[in-house]
Every structure is written in C-alpha cells, then in structure tokens.
C-alpha cells in the first residue's frame, strides 16, 4: 500500500515539475523516487496487511511482484534519457502516465476483490492506450493506439461480463468469498458461473497476449514508440500474469480441473503460434513482440501446474524475461535512431563497431533463448520442472520444441552482429553512461542465472 501512495505522489510531483518546465529535474526525481518506493514496498515484507475490506492485500506475493514491477520501470526510465534525447519539452505527461500504469500494475498484483482487479487493469490499460499513441505525428503510433483501444475495450467488456456472471452466481466480488462459495457448492455450481470464469480467463488471456487473443500485440508493439513498447511488453505482461496467478490460486483453485484444459489450450497455442511467427520476422521489434507472446505461453505453465514452487518460478521467469527484453529494446532504440529502421540488416557487424552494445544484445538474446548459464535458461528450466512435477509431460515437450524453434530467431541478430561484415555503417556514438547501464543490465542477467534459488525461494 505504501508503494501505491508514494507512487501517486511521485506522479503528481512529476506533472508539477513538468508544468513549471523543470526538465532537468524530472528524470533524477523519478529515478530516486522509484528507489524510495522500492524500499517503502520492501519494508512491508512479511506483514500480511489487509486494507478496506480486503480490497487490497499486501502479502509477500504482492510485495515481490511489486518490487519486480518497480525494478522493471526503473530500468525503462534509465533508458528513456537515450530515447528522448532529441525531445526538447519536459515530457511530464508521458512519464506520469508510465508511473500511473505502474500503479495499475501494482494493483493487479495485490487485489483481494475482483472489482479491484478491474480497476487495476483499466488503470494500466488506459495509460497504455495513450502511451501507445504518444508519438503524435507518427501514423503507426496512432494506429497502434486506436487498435489497442478497440481490441482492449472489447476484451474488457468480456472480462467485466464474466465478473458480473460470477457475482451473479456467488453473490460476492471478494476472492475468498467466491472461493468459499465454490467449496460449499462444489457439486451444484451452475453453468453460468463457469461461463463467467471462461470470460474472465479470456480477458486475462487478452492482457497477457495469449493465442488466440494475441492479435493486437504484434501490431501495437510494432507501432508504439520503442521505449513504450519495452515498457508495455514487460510491465503489462508481468502485472497481468501476476493478476492471473492470484485470481486462480486464491479463487479458482478448487475448480482447477475445469480451468486446466482451457489454460493448456492457451499455453500450447501461444507457444506454437508465437514461436513460429517470430521465426520469419526481419523486423527486430516485431520479432520481440512475438517473443513476448511465446513467453506468455511458458508463464502459463506455472499457473497450469499450480505446484508449491509456481509463484516463485513465475517471479523469477518474469524478472529474467523483463530484464532481457528491456536490454534488447535498449539496443534496438539506439540502432534505430542511428540507422533508421528496425531491420536485422542494420545489425550487421555491430560487434566490431559497438562491442559493448552487441555484447548486451547477445546476452539478452541468449537469455531469452534459454542458453545456460543465463537467467533465461534457469527460468525455463524451473518452469519446465514445475510443469513436470505437476505431471504435464506433454506441455513440457511442446515447451521444449518451442524453445528449440526460438533459438533460430533469437540467434539471428547474434549472427548478424558477430558474423556479418558491416556494409556502410559507421560506429554508433553513445554516451559512457549508456554503455555502463547496458553493461550492468546484461551482467545482471548473468548473475541472476546463478541465483535462481534465491528468487524462487522468496515465495
């Protein structure tokens, strides 16, 4: 709860400094603010507080995921200086919207009542709709915003309808109360309740971009400004998957048999379609959009299996996915700015000219592909082992095949960077700070690969 209050204050302060045109203060203010928020959040560890009739529950799951979300936002803000370096105006609106969507994300990881879930999702999504269109004079950005808005509201409609049906049958929005209803009436739950569940699942599947509700993702991610894409594809995914896990682990665990095959359908379709589509992309941004889709499939494994290590593995996977994705986007931003496109061709010979950036990109790609000993490998290994312990052998086989396919496209940029000769490109000039940041982030990926037990053991 501390985190949300402090973040709201920080966002309002951001807008205030924007209004009085103090551009130089903004980023330091936000970054230091995020660090403070991070600690405010962490000190609540182990307290298990309930607020407002269990609307908001501050348990360890919430705190861990909130910390992950704040960390991710922090990393995105670090690279925002590079992305907006040519923009003169203070950009307080964009920064504030990013902070507001972070608040939405945190709410999604800590709700105790499904109305609160809805509020969280909407806070996140509406900020995203605007952020996607924040490049005002770019057609692609406008298109992305409108597409996201149209499909998003559509999905929200289903989600809300599903919630209404659940309320209609069980008489409560409270997660525990719904759970009690399920336990009490195990044999005689009406079909309407299940229909409600399916609709809620569809809404959540849309938010994590699971197939067949993923259509918006490639177009929106490609069209949006790159920094925003990095932000949406990490914060949006992590918050939504946390919300999904929370919903199922608290409320629908006793009807899990019913949910499992829908979720498995989502997971398998997502992995197959996500990976196969990513394979033929020549556009790095679009490739990462599909990579994000396919990772949703792996994340679903933990929710399907619902083992004792599911929550911890979900956290670890989310963090390693988020860090790797942000690293990749940070390099993509740079290359796009200097060389004009997102095409793979632009990465030819990058290793010779910009070894640090190429190294970071290579680490990010290898982590996403799941090459040991990087974080991505440990994440995939653990999530597969969770599924394996739950007895979902076929799921793991699909996951491994998908993972194999993914190596093909994740290694493409590495091959271009390291084994192709640069055509006519010059060395990209970057600041020292950027180099250090990107190196630190990629080293974080390597270190994280050695401490999976530490993160997984948290939850």
């Amino acid at each position: 709860m501390n985190a949300i209050i402090a973040l709201s204050a920080l966002a309002i302060l951001t807008m205030f400094f924007g209004v009085i045109q103090k551009k130089s203060v903004l980023l330091p203010l936000i970054l230091s603010g995020l660090i403070i928020v991070f600690f405010l959040n962490v000190i609540e560890w182990g307290t298990f507080k309930h607020y407002y009739n269990e609307m908001f529950i501050a348990d360890n799951f919430n705190i861990a995921f909130t910390a992950a979300l704040i960390l991710t936002t922090f990393l995105v803000f670090i690279f925002s200086a590079l992305y907006y370096r040519t923009v003169k105006r203070p950009l307080e609106d964009i920064y504030a919207l990013m902070l507001f969507s972070l608040i939405g994300g945190i709410t999604m990881a800590s709700f105790g009542n499904i109305t609160m879930l809805f509020i969280g999702i909407e806070t996140l999504s509406i900020s995203f709709y605007i952020l996607a269109g924040s490049k005002k004079f770019d057609v692609a950005s406008n298109e992305a915003a409108l597409k996201y808005f149209l499909t998003g509201t559509f999905a929200t409609g289903f989600l809300l309808f599903g919630m209404a049906l659940i309320y209609g049958v069980s008489g409560s929005f409270n997660l525990q109360a719904i759970n009690s209803y399920i336990i009490a009436n195990k044999e005689s739950i009406p079909t309407l309740f299940y229909a409600g569940m399916i609709l809620v699942f569809v809404g959540m599947a849309f938010k994590i971009a699971a197939v067949p509700f993923h259509f918006w993702a490639p177009d929106v991610y490609t069209g949006s400004p790159t920094l925003i894409t990095a932000f949406m594809s990490t914060i949006g995914k992590v918050a939504s998957i946390a919300a999904f896990y929370r919903l199922i682990s608290i409320t629908f665990l006793n009807v899990h048999d019913f949910s499992v095959d829908i979720l498995m359908l989502f997971a398998i379709a997502t992995i197959i379609v996500g990976n196969l589509s990513a394979m033929t992309q020549d556009n790095m941004k679009r490739m990462l959009a599909y990579s994000g889709i396919s990772n949703s499939g792996y994340l679903l494994f933990a929710i399907i299996a619902m083992g004792p290590k599911s929550a911890g593995t979900l956290l670890y996977f989310s963090i390693s996915y988020a860090i790797a994705t942000i690293t990749a986007f940070a390099v993509i931003m740079l290359v796009r700015e200097e060389r004009g496109t997102f095409s793979l061709q632009d990465y030819k010979g990058l290793a010779k000219q910009n070894p640090v950036e190429a190294f970071a990109m290579a680490v990010a790609m290898m982590s996403l592909a799941g090459i040991p000993p990087l974080a991505g490998f440990m994440a995939k290994y653990n999530i597969f082992s969770v599924a394996m312990n739950g007895g979902y052998v076929w799921l793991v086989i699909v996951g491994v095949i998908g993972s194999m396919i993914s190596v093909f496209y994740y290694f493409k940029p590495i091959i271009y960077m390291y084994f192709h000769r640069a055509d006519a490109h010059k060395k990209i000039e970057t600041t020292k700070a950027y180099k250090i940041h990107i190196l630190l982030v990629s080293i974080l990926l390597i270190i994280l690969g050695f401490l999976p037990g530490l993160v997984i053991g948290l939850l």
Binding site: T191, A195, D219, L276, S277, M279
Partner: protein, 632 residues
C-alpha cells in the same frame, strides 16, 4: 593441516590459470618458476599431511561442497585422505616437483615454454584430483583430465604430423578404456546407490565371493585400468606417446598417470577380492604384457622406446601383483618405479639434450666420461630397475615375486624371466649408450645444466634408498610400507590368503637369491655381447633373423589393429557419413526445418492488420471455447 588439503590440488590449478592467462606476457623461465613453486608448496602441504596420517593412522574425508544434488543423487565434492591417497600425493608432488625443475632446463628456449608449464600444472591438478577424490565421479574427472593433458603434451610439438597422430592414438585408446570405466561406474551406482568409496566398500560385504555382478563391475573397471595403464590389448599408445617432450614421458608416462589404473584397482581392492576370476584375468593380462613388452624392449633402437616398453612391462608386473593379491607389493613397486623410471627418463632426456635431440642408440656410444653425472645416475637407475640388492627395485620386485609364488609357481617362473629380461635390455641400453666403441669417432656432448642434474641426483638417491621402506621381515626389516598400508589392504589380503599356502623363511630366502644370481649372469651376458663383442643393433633396413624381426616390429600389434579395427572403422564412418548422414538424416532435418519455416510463413497471414478481423477471431474463439467447455 588435513582440512587444508584442498590447497594441494588448488595450487597447481592456480599456477595453470596464472600461466595460461599470461601466455604471451611471461618471458624467460618465469612460468617455469611459477609452475615449480606451485608444485613445491603442494608438496610441502602433502608432506605435512602425510606425516600426520602416518603418525595418527587416521583417515579423514574432507567435504568441500555438495556438487550434484538431484532427487536421490547426492554427490559431494570431497577428498578422501588415507594412507593410499597420501602415498600417491607424495609421489605426484615430489617427483612432479623434481621433473618441473628439470623441465626448466630441458625446455629452455622452446617457443612453447609457457604452454608447456601451463599444461604440466594442469596435469598435476587433475592427477591430484584423481587420487584425492572420495568417490568414483571425482576420480573420473581426474581420470579424464589427465587423459586430456596427456593428449595435449604428447602432441606438444604439434607442427610434426606424427606427433599429432601419436596424441590422437593415445586419446582414442584411452577412450576405449574410459568407456569400460564409465560403465563400471554406472553399474556401481545402480547396484550400490552411491559412488562414495566408503559407502560402496561398506556395502560390498553383502555380496558373496564370486558374485557375477561384482565380477562384471570389476572387469569393467579393469578395462579402464587397461587403457590408462597401457596393458594388452590397449598398450600400443604408450610407446608412441614418447613423441612428447622427455619430462612429459617421465612424469605422465612413467611415474604418475599410467599408474592411475594400478591406483584405481588398489583403491577398489575390496571389490576385486570378491571376484577371483577378475583377479586371475588381471594377473594373466599383467604377466603377458610384462613378458611381451620386455621382449619388444630388447630389440628397440630408440632410447625412449626402450624405456617406454620397459614401463609397459613394469606396469604389467604391478598388475600381476594386484592379480595375485599382493596389493602392498603393487603399491610399493609403483613407488620405487616412479623414482627409478622417472630417473631413467630424465637421464635419457639429459643424454638426448647432450646430443642435441639424437634418440637413436646406434648413433651413441662412449658418453661415460663426457657426461659423468648423467651416466652415474643412469647407472643407478639401471641397477635399481634390474633388482640388484640393496637398491630399491630389488625389494619391491621381491615383494611381487613372493606374492606370485604364493599364488602360483608358474607366475613366479614367468615373473623371474621378465625380471631377467629387464636386466638384459637395461644393461644393453647402458652399454650401448655409455661405453666407448673404437670404430666410432668421438661425439660432441656436453653435460646438462645444474637444474637438470640436481633432480637427477635426488632421484638417484631415492632410487637407492626407497627400498628401505620395504625391507622384508626375513632381513630383520619391519616392512614399513606394509604396515603403513595395512588399514587399506588387510581385509582383502585375508580373504586371498585363505587359498594361498604360507611359505617358510628358508624358501623365501631361496626364492630371493635364485633370481639375483641369474641377474648377475645376465649383466655379464649383456657386457659380453655389447662391450666385448661391440655388437650393435642392425640398421632398420637390414634383414634380421626371424625371431628378432618379430620383436623389432613390436609383434605387429599396430598392423593387426590397423587391419582389424582402424580400416573397418574408417569404412563404417565413411558409410555413415556419405549414406546415413548426408542422404538420410540431413534430408530429414532439412525437411523438418523447411516445414517449420513454411508454417511460420503461412501463419503470418492470420496477422492481417485488420481490427475487424481481430475482433471477429476473438469472438469466434470465445464462442468455440464456451461451446467446447459448457455444452460438450
């Protein structure tokens, strides 16, 4: 000090890393000094640990960390410090240190000086891991590691193609043995549920003598030992391994690595005594190898090849000891052999060094006065290996001969013959290399520098004195080594002794002195042939008598292996590559890849970019899920 045992292997590893990362930077003998001091400190620590173990008679397991923990498997990275492993520690670090110091002189000016010492330190690291490991897996790491270093060092001068072939041959031959060892480890894990020595040996009591499972396991382990310790049929790599620098031959292919097989069987003695069949096979393989290799050594003309076959022969001797249950004898002979064979190799190296790389003994002669220190130390080595009392070789060989006699008098007779052959080829070598022949002009030779001759002298002293540790009871000695190692072998020796007949002291003395008398006869015989008659081995192209030709051609082992294994293997590889790989597997893999790419391209078309279509697809999906879940 025992708890700091991890320093012993760590120091050579640090030495290796230090040199490897400063490959291009180190000039002069810096890397040699670093490498030698790393081993020296290891030696000091080993010495302290050895004394501690010797005086306390305790054993200890030092647990470093849990290495593999998965399900029921729990393999820890831990070291077993007992009499056997500390004895090996002393040999590896002690002899290793001397050879390192010697190498600083021997390798001086070689362009690969730094590379050489990094490999040598790496080798010592793996060798220490091999003997210190408290379970078969750690031992296996060391086992593979020394194999790798052996490969690297045999092919050290990689610009010469034959050296590379020799390295490959050693590696492949060893792989065959390693496979056996690995299968043995798998079976051990399957039947015992652990790989810890203590755990396995404790459970071994539950098996009866002659249990087929134990027989298979021990045979597989023995296959590993055959490969590593160059026994028939996998011995042909060792003579070829002489392509490496001479200190390598001394350290790896005489004193340490090739004795790993002996160490492994001695370590597993509790298992081996449960299988009399395996022991018999070990004895037969050992004695046959000793006999054939001894025969071949008599007809070789390359100074290092003679010593190489001599090593094979002596290793066979040790296997005979293991086979007849004289474990202490095997370990004792291993120790003394490490001293005098390292000495002989280093002295041979000094000869080669003096003659600027000449290895053909037919081109040597009369070096006695020109390189006196080398000559004198070589002489001591020769006497020691020939088993002339009171040099060390006499006592260790005697221990084995007595063991052989107790088991089976045929073994004893063959062993005595082998021992006489040893005397003959060693004195033949000595006379040809060092005695002057009038028909030869004087060779230009210079004595080696101090850092080469001092290790020689130390090893010479050890070759003379090491026998004192095993003076048998009949001579009023107290069999120090036997008592020292008894905690490890007593149980097994008792099982074996049930069938053997005890021999009286008089018989023992008789058995000891009959060979010695013959040894003197053979020494004179060699003197008569090679000094009095000044006989020289024939030139390579000259026709030889039938018998001599067979041995000169190494019994055609290489040719037979070529025809039997290498050619068919090459043909099979050819078939697998051209038909199976290219025509079948590649095509399948490519088709699978094409299918995936095609699907990827096709699936892209559903991403039309049309929002109306997206919403339509979503609705259809929802309807299908609802129907599927709620109404069917």
């Amino acid at each position: 000090m025992i708890e700091y045992i991890w320093l012993v292997p760590l120091l050579p590893l640090i030495g290796f890393l230090l040199i490897a990362f400063n490959f291009k930077r180190f000039q002069g003998s810096v890397s040699g000094i670093i490498a030698s001091s790393a081993i020296f400190v290891s030696f000091i620590i080993s010495l302290i640990v050895f004394i501690e173990i010797y005086s306390s008679k305790q054993t200890a397991t030092v647990q470093l960390f849990h290495w593999i923990k998965f399900n029921k498997i729990d393999i820890s990275f831990s070291f077993l410090i007992d009499q056997l492993s500390t004895l090996m520690l002393m040999i590896i670090t002690g002899v290793g240190f001397l050879i390192h110091v010697y190498s600083i002189g021997y390798m001086k000016g070689d362009s690969g000086f730094n590379r050489f010492f990094s490999y040598m330190n790496l080798f010592v690291f793996f060798m220490l891991l091999l003997v210190l490991g408290s379970n078969y897996l750690i031992m296996f790491i060391g086992w593979e590691g020394v194999g790798l270093c052996s490969y690297l060092l045999i092919g050290f001068w990689f610009k010469k193609h034959e050296n590379n072939n020799a390295a490959k041959k050693a590696f492949i031959m060893n792989r065959i043995g390693d496979l056996g060892f690995l299968l043995g480890i798998f079976m051990l894990y399957y039947y015992f549920g652990t790989l810890n020595f203590n755990g396995i040996f404790f459970q071994a009591h539950m098996f009866t003598i002659g249990n087929p499972t134990i027989t298979i396991i021990t045979l597989l382990l023995f296959v590993g030992a055959i490969g590593k310790s160059a026994q028939i049929p996998l011995f042909t790599w060792l003579p070829d391994a002489m392509a490496g620098p001479t200190p390598v031959s001394a350290l790896i292919h005489a004193a340490t690595m090739v004795t790993a097989g002996i160490y492994m069987i001695a370590r597993s003695n509790v298992l081996f005594v449960l299988s009399p069949i395996t022991l018999l096979i070990i004895a037969i393989v050992g004695i046959t190898t000793a006999l054939l290799a001894g025969g071949i050594a008599i007809f070789q003309t390359d100074i290092k090849k003679v010593l190489a076959y001599s090593t094979v022969s002596q290793l066979g001797f040790m296997f005979l000891a293991l086979g007849v249950g004289a474990f202490t004898g095997a370990m004792f002979h291993l120790t003394t052999h490490a001293f005098f064979k390292a000495l002989l190799f280093l002295a041979a190296g000094s000869v080669i060094h003096a003659l600027n790389g000449e290895q053909d003994i037919r081109k040597m002669g009369g070096l006695k006065n020109k390189i006196p220190i080398t000559f004198f130390t070589f002489l001591i080595g020769t006497i020691a290996i020939s088993g002339i009392p009171p040099f060390s070789g006499f006592f260790s060989k005697d221990m084995i001969l007595i063991g052989a006699f107790e088991a089976n008098s045929i073994f004893w007779i063959i062993a005595v013959i082998v021992s006489l052959m040893t005397t003959f080829y060693m004195f033949r070598l000595l006379y040809i290399v060092f005695w002057k022949r009038s028909n030869k002009e004087d060779l230009h030779a210079h004595e080696s520098p101090k850092n080469m001759t001092i290790p020689l002298m130390i090893l010479a002293v050890l070759s003379v004195l090491a026998g004192a540790f095993g003076i048998p009871l009949v001579f009023g000695g107290n069999d120090i080594i036997g008592n020292f190692l008894s905690p490890i072998f007593t149980e097994s020796t008792n099982i074996i002794k049930i069938n053997a007949h005890e021999i009286s002291h008089n018989t023992e003395l008789l058995l000891m002195f009959i060979p010695v008398i013959f040894v003197f006869v053979v020494v004179y015989l060699a003197y008569y042939v090679y000094v009095k008659q000044k006989k020289l081995p024939e030139a390579d192209n000259q026709k030889r008598p039938f018998f001599s030709n067979i041995f000169f051609k190494k019994l055609y082992f290489d040719e037979i292996y070529n025809a039997l294994f290498v050619k068919p293997a090459l043909w099979l590889s050819d078939f697998l590559h051209n038909i199976i790989e290219l025509k079948v597997i590649d095509r399948m893999v490519n088709q699978a890849g094409n299918l995936v790419v095609w699907t990827g391209k096709t699936i892209r078309y559903i991403q039309t970019g049309n929002v109306g279509f997206y919403l339509f697809a979503m609705v259809i999906s929802i309807i299908l899920i609802l129907i599927f879940k709620l109404f069917i």
